[in-house]
């Protein structure tokens, strides 16, 4: 079923779901929504499953025309959105009619906004996921970002309406200063004590080289003990590697699956999702916690994802 036609694609708009798991050994990255929490919330707000695919909108939003009557929700980075010229709120179910134009403006805070469609976006499953992996050219709409004229397909859904909203106190607020938790390692022993101390006590800035593959940081140098190269081993989103120029790089969801720079630390899972809302020039600070502490935070995070649906207010 055709749900939307793309009138303007925005800066970088892709189809994303929770990600593509199980193919790292073939060199296929996990991909998926950069801000998992906002994706899941967007899905729940239109009675979807958390695994359904949404549009991920980056910094400058698209303009879409509805080809059928449907329900949508907008979450994540704060962006002004108008339906037929009328401003509409985020974090609640919205209804659009055939012919309506949904126009997104510029990001006001955060970096990525999610648009869910009732029933989920229907692009083919590729290796178990609908997420777009642009570098590999597969997933989403023809393996690429949206362009003008694209049609967004959806699924047939039951005709009854839903009407949910997120209680205001639960709506995440994004700043331009991120404080993230890391677990040191696996190759922290390749850095001097001073290097690790600098890494954990300094404020870094996200450079313009920041996208779905990773964020290059600017700030005080992180000193290696000796060489700055290792024989390549595996990478995962959240890994913080420090190459020869001694400036950290945070690996994100579309990064290559192997890499040859030592990894000083790894961002914990809930904070990787948070970093999905980080953009160039934002500040970032790292603090180290133990694996045990990280697992406590991870349990809280999974609990949040699992209970988001119950926390929504139904107006019907």
């Amino acid at each position: 079923m055709k749900v939307f036609q793309v009138l303007k694609p925005g800066l970088f708009t892709t189809v994303q779901d929770l990600g593509r798991y199980g193919y790292l050994k073939y060199g296929v990255p996990i991909s998926g929504a950069m801000d998992t929490v906002s994706l899941v919330a967007a899905n729940f707000l239109v009675a979807n499953n958390p695994i359904d695919a949404c549009l991920e909108i980056t910094l400058i939003g698209p303009e879409l025309q509805a080809l059928t009557k449907t329900q949508i929700a907008i979450t994540g980075g704060v962006i002004s959105t108008k339906v037929n010229g009328q401003s509409v709120p985020m974090w609640q179910t919205l209804e659009v009619q055939e012919g309506d134009v949904v126009a997104f403006g510029k990001m006001e805070s955060g970096c990525r906004t999610y648009l869910s469609i009732r029933g989920g976006i229907n692009t083919p499953l590729v290796l178990g996921s609908r997420s777009t992996y642009v570098r590999g050219g597969f997933g989403g709409v023809n393996g690429r970002q949206l362009k003008t004229g694209d049609i967004i397909e959806g699924f047939d859904v039951p005709s009854f309406k839903v009407e949910y909203s997120m209680p205001e106190e639960l709506v995440p607020q994004f700043t331009d200063h991120f404080k993230v938790h890391v677990i040191l390692g696996p190759q922290a022993d390749m850095f001097t004590e001073k290097g690790i101390e600098t890494f954990l006590s300094s404020k870094y800035t996200i450079t313009l080289e920041a996208d779905r593959m990773g964020y290059r940081l600017e700030g005080p140098i992180v000193e290696h003990k000796g060489k700055a190269d290792i024989v390549s081993d595996a990478l995962l989103p959240g890994a913080v590697q420090v190459p020869g120029n001694r400036k950290p790089i945070i690996i994100m969801r579309d990064a290559q699956t192997t890499g040859g720079y030592p990894k000083i630390a790894h961002v914990i899972t809930p904070d990787i999702s948070l970093l999905g809302q980080a953009k160039p020039n934002d500040a970032i600070e790292f603090s180290s916690i133990t694996t045990y502490q990280a697992h406590e935070k991870l349990r809280e995070y999974y609990k949040l994802l699992n209970t988001l649906r119950r926390m929504l207010v139904s107006k019907l």
């Binding site: 997933g139 995962l236 699956t257 790894h266 694996t291």
Partner: protein, 244 residues
């Protein structure tokens, strides 16, 4: 660089959902065999909480679900498996033949590689294609195999300035490694030839033709054969050869 494998494997936390087991910091058959042996044994043991395994040159990444197991429990169970491996012999993996058209527009750096080593192009082709190469790992881009090791006679460092676009199928050399670009990508490997066969297809299961532990042998083909195989691949009529 440490030139010896570690005396015992290093078990290291890799974020909140993975464990890294390092066997050394070098490219060596011995180290990679240990990686693949542990990979296969952990896979077979179906360890509780393990979600995914990623074997590389010299380490095994174990992605796990911390809601199902703890880090300590996982380390304990995998060390147990590692200990049983000491007496095991490892198989040599599958042998797969990759047809390659060397030189000309398919291999723009073949001349450079030959000149650098005082060889003629045919000698480089012969040396490159007469031995089997181990697939040490898949990485960089989906389906890209890191193969080793190229003999010193033709080993050549990467380009100083990488190309913005290397065509799909390109076969390259980087130091003592050789590899194949499954799709068009930027890259600095010295390109000596091209294969018409598909190394990665996200619509197939498994999506990659090769896996770590396999042995690859290159077979020189003519431009005419290249075009013929290319057509067969497009029609889905080409089955990669394996060698007995």
């Amino acid at each position: 660089m440490k030139t010896e494998p570690y005396e015992s494997a290093r078990y290291l936390p890799f974020g909140d959902s993975a464990l890294l087991i390092e066997f050394g910091d070098l490219i060596s058959l011995e180290v990679n065999r240990k990686v693949i042996a542990l990979y296969e044994a952990v896979l077979k043991a179906a360890v509780n909480g393990v979600e995914e395994l990623v074997p590389t040159y010299r380490s095994l990444l174990v992605r796990y679900n911390p809601l199902k197991t703890t880090y300590e429990q996982l380390v304990f169970m995998i060390k147990d498996i590692e200990n049983t491996l000491k007496e095991l012999r490892v198989g040599e993996g599958r042998k797969i033949v990759i047809p390659v058209a060397y030189g000309g527009e398919y291999g723009p750096d073949l001349t450079h590689v030959a000149q650098r080593h005082g060889l003629i192009e045919e000698q480089v082709v012969k040396i490159h294609s007469e031995r089997g190469y181990r697939v040490y790992m898949i990485g960089f881009v989906a389906g890209f195999p890191y193969l080793g090791e190229v003999p010193d006679e033709i080993a050549t460092p990467r380009l100083e300035t990488p190309r913005l676009k290397v065509p799909a199928g390109s076969v390259g050399i980087a130091g003592k490694q050789t590899g194949i670009y499954p799709c068009e990508a930027p890259g600095g490997w010295r390109i000596i030839g091209r294969t018409p066969i598909k190394l990665f297809d996200p619509l197939q299961q498994p999506p990659a033709l090769l896996k770590p532990g396999d042995t690859v042998k290159f077979k020189p083909i003519s431009e005419k054969d290249f075009k013929m195989i290319e057509k067969a691949v497009l029609k889905g009529d080409y089955a990669p050869l394996s060698e007995e």
